[in-house]
């Protein structure tokens, strides 16, 4: 088992970081909030040029045929940059789900468009009430029915065939929608066990993508707070020289460092669809959310009163952390899932997790 990222993966992470640092400057992000859609089609085209939108697309549709291990570092950078675009929904979840369930014709119609930056996807699951970025998704992949093989289904519905109701959220860059629609045989792309398996995997992919972004956000919050602590002086010294500040930030960094390998392991379990996938994803989501929420609280404390203001950029990441904390399963929900797996007598023993004998 390869435990290190390849030079190419690390080089791409660095390239994406530089690209996003330039493209997602806070002034640009704030301007986007004021637009009706909150999204930039020009920027979406640039993401396609960078190759990000084609990462998970099969090679026969012009994509790069990569998996979650390749994608996780990019998603981390997307969190770090507070990117306002449905990359996670499209690349991490939508394309793999469409590739797993869509007919050859449907795949051939939509996946090349995604790779070229001409279309976006989003995903709605019965366990999450709202769909992220549904307003700019050209095709919505939606969970219909219940959870048993007899009534579960996946539908691919063009945005024009649904009614979107905007729902307010914490994150000023976030765009959440309740989707009102009617399932029909024409839009149904999978049923039964195939649909159930695909939806469970899609949910874990979405949770993994949220976890990766949360780790990136946590790191950005630590970096912002550490930078501020070296600039802000009190009692004639930068506040970062006081142990009370240093220790707080060090504790957050430790939490981030502990979340990172858990995240990477989860990415691998999703890519390989191993038996530990659900537990590993839940572990990653819970650990990443804890790191990000602690980072948000600590960064706010380090900034003091100015951290509460609209003008200071801190809230861009803080509110994104709050929003992603509860997206695709809260920490409580994921801990409960880990608990069920650990305590289940039928759980298979595996490395890192032991079932009761």
């Amino acid at each position: 088992m390869e435990l290190l990222f390849t030079d190419d993966q690390l080089a791409f992470q660095e390239s994406v970081r530089g690209f996003l640092q330039k493209e997602c400057e806070p002034e640009r992000l704030r301007k986007l909030w004021e637009t009706e859609s909150g999204r930039s089609p020009e920027f979406w085209a640039k993401l396609a040029e960078m190759g990000i939108l084609g990462m998970t697309a099969p090679e026969e549709h012009g994509g790069l045929g990569m998996n979650e291990v390749d994608l996780v570092l990019v998603l981390e950078e997307i969190g770090r940059a507070a990117l306002a675009a449905p990359v996670a929904e499209t690349v991490a979840v939508g394309v793999p789900l469409l590739a797993a369930c869509g007919s050859p014709a449907l795949q051939a119609e939509w996946i090349p468009k995604v790779v070229a930056g001409e279309a976006a996807l989003s995903f709605g699951h019965a366990d999450t009430p709202f769909v992220h970025d549904a307003h700019v998704a050209d095709l919505l992949l939606l969970h219909a029915g219940g959870r048993t093989d007899s009534d579960i289904a996946v539908h691919a519905v063009p945005r024009g065939d649904v009614t979107l109701v905007h729902e307010p959220g914490n994150d000023p860059a976030g765009r959440l929608y309740r989707v009102e629609w009617q399932p029909s045989p024409e839009t149904r792309i999978a049923t039964g066990a195939v649909a159930g398996t695909a939806l469970a995997l899609a949910f874990d992919r979405a949770a993994l993508a949220a976890a990766a972004q949360l780790v990136g956000i946590a790191q950005q919050l630590v970096d912002l707070a550490a930078h501020y602590a070296t600039q802000r002086e009190q009692f004639g010294r930068p506040i970062g020289s006081f142990q009370a500040i240093k220790h707080m930030l060090a504790s957050v960094q430790v939490r981030v460092e502990f979340a990172r390998p858990v995240l990477y392991r989860a990415a691998w379990t999703v890519a390989e669809d191993t038996a530990e996938r659900m537990v590993a994803v839940s572990h990653a989501k819970a650990a990443a959310a804890e790191a990000a929420i602690l980072a948000a609280r600590t960064a706010l404390q380090v900034h003091g009163a100015i951290g509460y203001t609209w003008e200071v950029d801190l809230h861009i990441w803080m509110k994104r952390a709050w929003a992603l904390d509860v997206a695709w399963g809260t920490r409580l929900w994921h801990r409960a899932r880990i608990g069920r797996a650990v305590l289940d007598d039928s759980a298979a023993p595996s490395f890192g997790y032991s079932a009761r004998a």
Binding site: D8, A11, F12, S15, V16, G18, F19, E49, M50, G51, I52, G54, M55, L64
Partner: protein, 250 residues
């Protein structure tokens, strides 16, 4: 059209540089290394020419340690076609110019684009020396480059004191890139994947038969003096008085 572009490995400009206690160089531990930003602008310009002129080839050249492969791969990932790494210890500007002149003999490019200077030693000498050694025209500090339709000549706008100067000269020639020439692209994922398969040829400097004996010896390095705290004055009169009596500049 064949374009030769230099790529030097330099410390990241955002890195905090520390001079070794004995003054023989800089501390290289934990330094992040990048492509010289002016060279990166040169690579971008060459790629833009390649996109306009069908059949063009962009060849990167670096001189240094084997680890400079990393920076050449970055340029290849941006879109250059192949790369040459001349393995050599630190050369002075004339040594670098002579090595490049020898490579030009072998490669016969139509155009050489270099950064106007490397941000490590800021010599700003190699481009000019290379043009002289080759007997080619030069357009340094370029903020705009335009090639004639037949690619036989170039028009280079230079940033000079007090304004812009435009030079036109026949090719082949040497152009050095200034900051405002362009904004370099980021390597795309397909570009990074393709870069691994592109040719990167290594040549020991001894194989070139070039005299690289240094003419310049660095005797000592020291950090710049630390900035002292400023002083806020209450009036123009006080300022003039202090400039006269304390700073002794007027």
């Amino acid at each position: 059209m064949k374009i030769l572009v230099t790529v030097k490995r330099v410390p990241d400009p955002e890195t905090s540089i520390k001079v070794k206690p004995d003054g023989t160089g800089i501390v290289t531990d934990n330094i992040k290394w990048v492509v010289n930003p002016f060279d990166e602008i040169g690579v971008e310009e060459a790629l833009r020419i390649k996109e306009k002129v069908a059949g063009s080839e962009v060849v990167l050249v670096s001189i240094g340690d084997k680890v400079a492969q990393e920076q050449l791969r970055t340029g290849l990932a941006m879109g250059a076609d192949r790369a040459i790494l001349v393995l050599a210890d630190d050369l002075d500007p004339l040594g670098v110019a002579r090595v490049l002149a020898k490579l030009v003999d072998d490669e016969k490019p139509d155009l050489i684009i270099m950064g106007k200077q490397a941000i490590d030693d800021d010599s700003n000498a190699v481009g000019q020396m290379l043009a002289e050694l080759l007997g080619w025209p030069q357009g340094t500090f370029a903020s705009q480059i335009e090639l004639s339709d037949d690619q036989k000549s170039a028009s280079v706008t230079r940033e000079v004191d007090g304004g812009l100067e435009t030079l036109s000269f026949p090719l082949p020639g040497v152009i050095t890139a200034d900051l405002r020439l362009n904004e370099p692209r980021y390597a795309s994922l397909p570009g990074i994947m393709k870069a691994r398969k592109k040719e990167l040829k290594e040549i020991p400097v001894a194989d070139l038969g070039v005299d690289v004996t240094p003419r310049v010896t660095i005797t000592k390095m020291e950090p710049p003096p630390s900035r002292e705290a400023g002083k806020i004055v209450a009036s123009v009169e006080e300022l003039v008085n202090l400039l006269h009596t304390e700073a002794k500049v007027i």
